[in-house]
Each structure stands twice: as C-alpha cells, then as structure tokens.
Amino acid sequence: MSEATIADHPTPGLPALSLVPKSDTKQSMKDFKTDQEVRWCPGCGDYAVLAAVQSFMPELGLARENVVFVSGIGCSSRFPYYMNTYGMHSIHGRAPAIATGLASSRRDLSVWVVTGDGDALSIGGNHLIHALRRNVNLKILLFNNRIYGLTKGQYSPTSEVGKITKSTPMGSLDAPFNPVSLAIGAEASFVARTIDSDRKHLQSVLREAAAHPGTALVEIYQNCNIFNDGAFDALKDQQTAQDALIRLEHGQPIRFGAPAEDGLGSKGVVRDLATGELKVIDVTVEGTAGVLVHDSHAASPTTAFALSRLADPDTLHHTPIGVLRSVERPVYDADMSDQLERAVEEKGKGDLAALLAGQDTWTVVG
C-alpha cells in the first residue's frame, strides 16, 4: 500500500501497470478461479470470456491482490465472483463510477470493469462516457449480447430496430447504439472490439488494453443462447464471416474477404475522395491502390469513427474487430496524483493546526 512497496515492484514494459506490484510466483489460470459455482446458463458466451480472462491474467504477472474487478448488474456482472482477485458486484450501471474512485485513489491497483450492453449503455450510459472522457486507468469489458438476459429477454440499447422481444411484441422502435462509435465520440483513448468465441483474438485485444495507460473500452460480442441465440452468427460462421468480418491490425492494409492472389482479402476499405467517407471495394477488380492502412494511433478519431460506421447493424456485415483506436493522452489518476505532489511542493505538507487557525484570530484570556 505504501509508496515504497509500490516502487519496489515495478512492472516494466506496461506503462499502465508500472505501479502495480508483480507476483512473486509464476501464476496459472487456476490461480484466478474461485471456489464459487459459476451460475450462467449452460452454453452462455460468458463462460468463454471468463476462461479467456482467467487464462490471460497470468501473462500480466500482477500480484493477484492488486487486481480488482468491479461490475454492475446483469448476467455478465456476476463475473467478479468467479475471479480470485478483489472484486465488487455493485449496482446497475454504476461500476465505472465506483471503479473511478478506486483507481484514482489507488494507483497500485489494476482495475477492471465488467459490464453489459444494458448496464453500460442504458442505465449507466452517463458513467461510461464520462469515464472514457476522463481517461482514468480502467479496463472496461463490455459484454454485448444485444438483449437483456437477467430480466429475461427485453430489447437492449444495442438491439436492432424491429426486434421482437417480450417488451416489444410488435418490434422495437429504438435505434441502437454502436458502442464503438459511442466510445470514440466520447473521446475514448482506447477502443477495441472482439468476439467471445475467438479466444486468441480476445486475448490479443486484452493484452493491448492492459498495456494502455488510461481507460480502455473492449466491446465483446457475446452470445446469449437463451434470449438472443445466434446474434453474432454472421461473424462466427466460417462462410459468412469472411465477408462480414474486418480484422483490423495496426500498420496493415484493411483487407478482408476471400483471399486474393496476394493472399490478403479480396475486399479492401478505401476513402471515397468525393465524400471523404469510407467504402468497401473489390480489390481484385479495382486494385489495391488507395486501400487504407490501419493506424490505431492516429491522433484524429475520424477514421476510426468511420471504420466503426461500416458495420450494418442488422446484418453485421463489414464489422471491424480489433483495436480501432489507441492513443496516448493525459491519464486522470496520474494527473490527480501529480496535483497532490505539486501542492505539497508549493505549500508544504498540510499543517492541521495552521489550517484550523487561519489568518484572523483573537485570544480570550481566562
């Protein structure tokens, strides 16, 4: 807890975690499992995410006691009970706020938020956007299953228009959020998307998120096999995924689809010079000139935002996954600590007696 302890255990190579003590011993997945019975529905996508996170954590090598998972309410928010770290299962939508208080007062902790599409985007929308704007050192895992599961099947803020659910027998009237677009609009410094069933990809995104100084938002498409089964099949099915899924990699041309002669995808993303918007072209017909090279570190969020808009909310065609945006900017909790240090430098360490006395006193002699 003391500054000395923190300094004794730096985590080199991961600036976001440089103040978090490292584990003395080699960890394995089972170190991060608790003795609690996992109570999600059989077949739920949450199991895959839990296993991916549990098997990823040893890679960070952090002292388990310095890792905290904070969640809100919803199916995914049971997550902390299954992670053998410190954890808090809080109230609906408020996890980013609670985690902000923890992360900004304890920089020696690695703080993770687990939330869902209802929790983060509906009741907790305000906290999510402000956490992203502030850039507190938090890693937010947003499980998006496009449905309310725990309350048994109402439409969510990411459900497609016209969705037939228990609360919308004639179809949902709400236009959905695109969480990645929303996050980029909220000044997020790190925004990524991944899929529950693709452990390798999921962990690669977690790796980058963990290393990122500031708030990282990772949207995880997660299947609810009870109330919205198959919501992401277009991205999971070998056949359809090829044309639907755009795998973004920093520094690589944005190509997808069936392989062309050069081995890369036969489709590419280019900028329409007339409108400035992004569009998908057939590179086997139009050539590879002008195909965008993905730059997740671009200072301007415009291209990342444009990429996020390629996806069709109904068919999920042209859905980008991977890290859309990863830029460095001032981190709230670091700056907050700096102000405290500067105040001590400028005014000296607080003297309570002097504070209470103030400038203007008089004395009564007994």
Partner: protein, 645 residues
C-alpha cells in the same frame, strides 16, 4: 426626515489607528444589522466583511445570509433582493436575531422587502440615489416612502450612497459604472464608523482580493474610507455606538470566525488526519453544499483528493470505490442529491464500508428553495432507501459544531463500517459564529486496523479470510483493502451468507443478516442526552415541559428557553445530535416530563420518530418558511404548548 445631507469632507482618508470618532458615543449590549440590496450589489461580501471586523473585535456574533437562487435576479425587483443579517453583542448570543435594529437598504426593493421585519424605532439607512420613480414603481411604490410619511415610525438616514461614492472616486480614473460598484464599501465604511469596527482587516482584504487590479482595490479602499469619514463628519449621524467585546462569554482560548460549511470541511480534513487515512471526496455541485467541495479542493497538500463527478450518483459511487480501497470517503450534497444517491447508500449498507454522506438540507420538495434552509430531509436520511437499510445520522447544532459533528460522523463510519449521514442545513452552512480553535491534541484518535490476515479457522483446520465475520463488540466486519495478499474477496449488493460473504438466497440467513445489520446500527455507542433543566431540585424536575430539537434549531430554541426562564417560566431543554441511533437515555428523559414540545423546520419529522419509538405525545411546532425560527416567536409557542409560567 428628508433633511438636507451636508456635503461630507471626503478629502484625506484617515489612517485606521487614528480613527476615533469624535461624536457622542452610546454603549449598547447588542445590535442586529441587516444589509439589503440587489443580488448584484455585493451585500453578501459587505456582510462578510462586517462580520470579520466584528469577530476580530471580539463580540459574540451570529449571521444569516439570505439570497435568491438566481445569480443575478432581475435588477431592482423584490425577488432579486439579497440580504445579510448580523447579530453581535457583548455577551453570548445564539441566533442572528429576530428583528434588525438597523437596516441598510440599497434600493427601493430592499426597503420594501425588509421593512415588515423592522421594529418601530429601527434605524434605516437608505441609498436615496436609487429611489427614482421608475425604481419605486417597479416594486409598487406609488409615492416615495421617504417622503410620504409612511416611514415615520423609523429613524431614517437618507444617504445618496451612489453619488457620494462616485464623488469620492472622481480622481480614481474609473468609469462611473465601475465607481458605482464600490457603493457597498461606502456603506460598509459608514457602518464601521457607527459601530467602531476595526478597519485594517477590510482594507487588507480588499487589497488582497483585487491584487491583480490595483486600481479597483484602491477605489474600494477609498470608498470604504469615504463612508467612514462621512459618518464622522455629517450631521445626520450624531451618535455612534460601542458594543464591548464579549470577553466574559467565551472560555479562554484562541478564536476565529467560522461558517458551518468551512467548519465541516475542516472537520473532514481533521478526521482524515486523526484516522491516518487519505480523504477522498466525490461530489457534484449543488447548493448549499458546493462550498465544501471548493474548500476541500484547496487542501491537496493534506493528501485530499476531490473528484467532481458527472452526477450525484457517480459522486457517491467514486467515494464508495475509494472506501473499498481504504480511504476516508465522503460525498457532499443536498436533498435532491440524496435522492439520487439512495441506491448507492443502500449498497454501502450492504457492503458495510465506511462512507460519510454529508447532506446540507435546503427547502424542498424537488428543487424547492435551493438557497433557503429547512430540516425536512430527516426522514429521507432515516428511511429513504429500499429494504431494511439503517444508516446512522449525526446533526450539528451550530456552525462551529459542524467541525465536531464531522469528526463524530467519521468515528461512527470507521468504527462500525457503515455509511453515516451528516445532516446539516443551509442556515448552518452559510451562517457563521466565533469558534474556539481546538488544540490538535484534544482531537479523538480515529485510527483503524485494516485486516491483515485470515480471521477464521475452517472445519478442516485451514485458515481462511471471512469478509463478513464480525467484531463481537461492534458487529463491524473486517476492512480488507485491495493490495493485502491472501485476503482476496468479492463483495456485492446481493445478500451474503453470514461470515463467508458468499451469495446466499437462504431465507433464514437473510432474516439473520437483516437483523444483524440493524443491530449493528442500534448498538452504536453514542453519548447520553444531556438535559438543561435548572428547575431540578434534589434530582426532581419542577418544569413540566421539555423542549427538544435537533440540528440548527439549537440557537433559536436556546434563546427562546432563556427568554421564558428570564420571565420566570420553567422549561427543560434537550438537543439531539444523534438521530440514529437515539441516545440510550432518550426514552427515560422524555418520560420525566408531562409535555414534550418539538420545534422543527419541517412538518414534524422528529416528533414523528419520537412518537413512534417512545409512545409519547410529542407536540410539534413547525415552520417551513425557509428561514430559521425567531426566538420570540418560539418562546411564545413553547409557552402556548404548555410551559409552566
């Protein structure tokens, strides 16, 4: 009445120490002054300065700032009037006073809005420059009240404050509009002369406040001095007044003037120091609590972290997160904010983490009267959550008491691992009074022990950490902060199994946990209620009536009780600082008296609790005007309700 004002000599300003009025001096034991003007006239600043002068002179004092919620309400209108009342005396006093002896009215609206509060014979200093036809018509004066004889009952001092100020500043180089703005300092100078206030502090203050605008600073100082000299030279002010320092009223010690919100802020910093825990404030701006956020944000060198959140819910959420991490966590708000925070307070009850919820009450419901005082959130603090969610409540009695109350609330939160309400109000928040600065060594030790290792032996002999295994004395659970190896655990708002803290839906366990959380709060150690009853002879009270209150009504109730006793009446008085749990002896105290009278600035919320818990016929006396009780009115009401006189 409208005698010609002789042109004052506003030449060379006198130096502060040379300022000894040459005219007749009368001695008074107490005075109540009210400064009133437009919201933009600087009345609060004027009142603050007069208060500081008075405090440093050594009088006892009590203040009542009263201003509209609008930052700049329409100029010259009745709703736009802002006032500051100050009561000061050579003896100890308890309230800002019922009726002003002196009114400073900067415009017709200020006169009209305040005249009804003045007793006959009161002095009124009016700024005649503002009594134009148009300005008078705006507030419904058909004829000038200065000339139509309607103010015959009062001693009027017509002073062209604006033009005298402009005249005094004619060489300052300021534009007329800027010069006019210093008229409040002219008025302050005049009043400072009338009551022999020390002036150095104000001049120092002005030079510091306008350090970056030296011409404005000097203009204000010049206007202030011109006002003083005006009193000294003009014939309209024949008499000045002396109110001796209230030396006898104060125990020996070093004193300063302090407002409730400032005392509360200092109490939080002191509690953090005494607990050896970093202070973390999560807050969202709201009247009348914002000053605590402002104040604490200045004390980063004490390790204080202040977080201005996106809303009230995030503010308390961040505080609760910091509490989980081992901070002394605080959120500050007022009634509408408490409503938004309720769910998180319930979570804190379930998590059993220390958390201070500072609620500065204001008029309600809804937005209500943001800048006015009220005590109508007691039942909200007591019951305003879903489920059985008991929360201790501590209420300060005076502005200075906010310091001690904050430390007491922190003690309860840290000892019992619970959210605690610190229930102040707008009157305490903004009002000020002298405060004996405590010796740091007198402050209580609030240090806590974090959990460091296993606290339970399992059946198989293994050592384990059980986050809900309680201290048998306090029923508090261990505070195991992240970063402590081996104590990794998960907590949440779902019902927990006793001991292990694991999720449990077991009916008997829920019943047990609900009762245990209640028992923990009921068992909090709070001091016995003290009764002030001079009628007691040989242990037997002769008074048949007990007056009992809570919070900021302490001053008015005590002043009322003194009046009754001074008139030969017998009445006992007690004041509750702990509203949950109540002091153990409260039931016994109530039963000692035939009649129990409960004055409150609500419709009887404490009376309701007393009746429910102790089955006593507690009688309410209520006022919800947004203003504190007046002592005379209360004395009358208490006698009506049955004091033995």
């Amino acid at each position: 009445m409208t005698s010609q004002v002789s042109s004052p000599a506003v030449g060379q300003p006198l130096l502060g120490e040379q300022r000894k009025p040459a005219k007749e001096v009368q001695r008074l034991d107490r005075v109540i002054i009210r400064f009133a003007g437009d919201s933009g006239d600087g009345m609060q600043l004027t009142g603050d300065r007069f208060t500081s002068e008075t405090a440093s002179f050594g009088n006892d004092l009590s203040t009542l700032p009263n201003f509209p919620a609008e930052i700049r309400a329409p100029a010259g209108t009745l709703p736009g009037v802002s006032s500051f009342q100050l009561h000061f005396a050579d003896h100890d006093i308890l309230t800002p006073g019922d009726a002003p002896n002196v009114l400073v009215a900067m415009n017709p609206a200020a006169l009209k809005a305040n005249i009804a509060d003045l007793p006959r014979g009161a002095e009124i200093i009016v700024n005649t420059d503002e009594f134009t036809k148009r300005a008078m018509a705006k507030v419904g004066y058909a004829a000038s009240p200065l000339e139509d004889g309607s103010l015959e009952a009062y001693a009027i001092h017509p002073v062209p404050l604006t033009s005298l100020t402009v005249e005094a500043l004619k060489d300052s180089g300021l534009a007329r509009k800027d010069a006019e703005r210093a008229k409040n300092m002219f008025a302050l100078g005049l009043l400072s002369w009338m009551y022999h206030r020390p002036t150095e502090g104000t001049e120092k203050f002005l030079r510091k406040k306008f350090a970056t605008k030296p011409d404005i600073a000097e203009a204000n100082v010049a206007a202030f001095r011109a006002g003083w000299n005006f009193g000294e030279t003009t014939e309209d002010f024949a008499v000045s007044y002396e109110i001796a320092p209230a030396s006898a009223a104060f125990p020996a010690g070093t004193y300063r003037n302090i407002s409730g919100n400032l005392a509360l802020s200092y109490g939080l910093v002191a509690a953090s120091k005494q607990a050896d825990l970093p202070l973390y404030l999560g807050s969202y701006p709201i009247t009348p609590a914002s000053d605590i956020l402002h104040e604490l944000s200045k004390h980063k060198n004490f390790g204080v972290r202040t977080f201005q959140a996106e809303d009230e819910i995030a503010a308390i959420g961040a505080a609760l997160g910091a509490a989980f991490g081992g901070a002394l966590a605080v959120t500050t708000t007022s009634g509408p904010g408490v409503a938004l925070k309720s769910e998180t307070i319930g979570l804190a009850v379930s998590l059993e983490l220390p958390l201070l919820v500072v609620a500065i009450q204001r008029g309600g419901p809804s937005t209500g009267l943001p800048t006015k005082t009220e005590q109508a959130d007691l039942l909200q603090a007591m019951y305003g959550r879903n489920g059985e969610a008991p929360v201790p409540i501590v209420a300060p009695a005076t502005a200075a008491d906010c310091f001690d109350a904050a430390i007491e609330a922190a003690r309860i939160a840290l000892t019992y691992r619970t959210p605690v309400f610190l229930l102040s109000d707008g009157y305490l928040a903004n009002g000020s009074e002298p405060w004996r600065i405590p010796d740091i060594d007198e402050l209580p030790d609030l240090r806590v022990q974090f959990a460091t290792g296993p606290n339970h032996t399992l059946d198989n002999g293994d050592e384990a950490f059980w986050p809900y295994k309680r201290d048998p004395q306090t029923l508090a659970r261990p505070w195991a902060v992240p970063g402590t190896p081996g104590l990794e655990h998960r907590i949440g708002g779902i019902e927990k199994q006793d001991g292990t803290g694991n999720i449990s839906y077991d009916p008997a366990n829920h019943d047990f946990m609900v009762r245990t959380r209640q028992a923990k709060i009921d068992g909090i150690d709070v001091p016995d209620l003290e009764v002030d009853d001079p009628s007691v002879v040989d242990g037997q009270p002769h008074a048949r009536t007990l007056v009992i209150g809570w919070g900021s009504t302490y001053g008015p109730i005590t002043a009322a009780v003194r009046r009754i006793r001074a008139g030969g009446g017998q009445v006992a008085q007690a004041h509750l600082r702990h509203l949950n749990p109540f002091p153990r002896n409260l039931g016994e105290v109530l039963k000692r008296y035939d009649k129990v009278v409960v004055p409150e600035m609500n419709l009887g919320q404490l009376a309701h609790l007393l009746r429910a818990k102790y089955l006593v016929d507690a009688r309410s006396y209520n006022q919800v005007t947004g203003l504190p009780f007046k002592a005379e009115q209360l004395a009358h009401a208490i006698m009506e309700e049955g004091a033995d006189v």
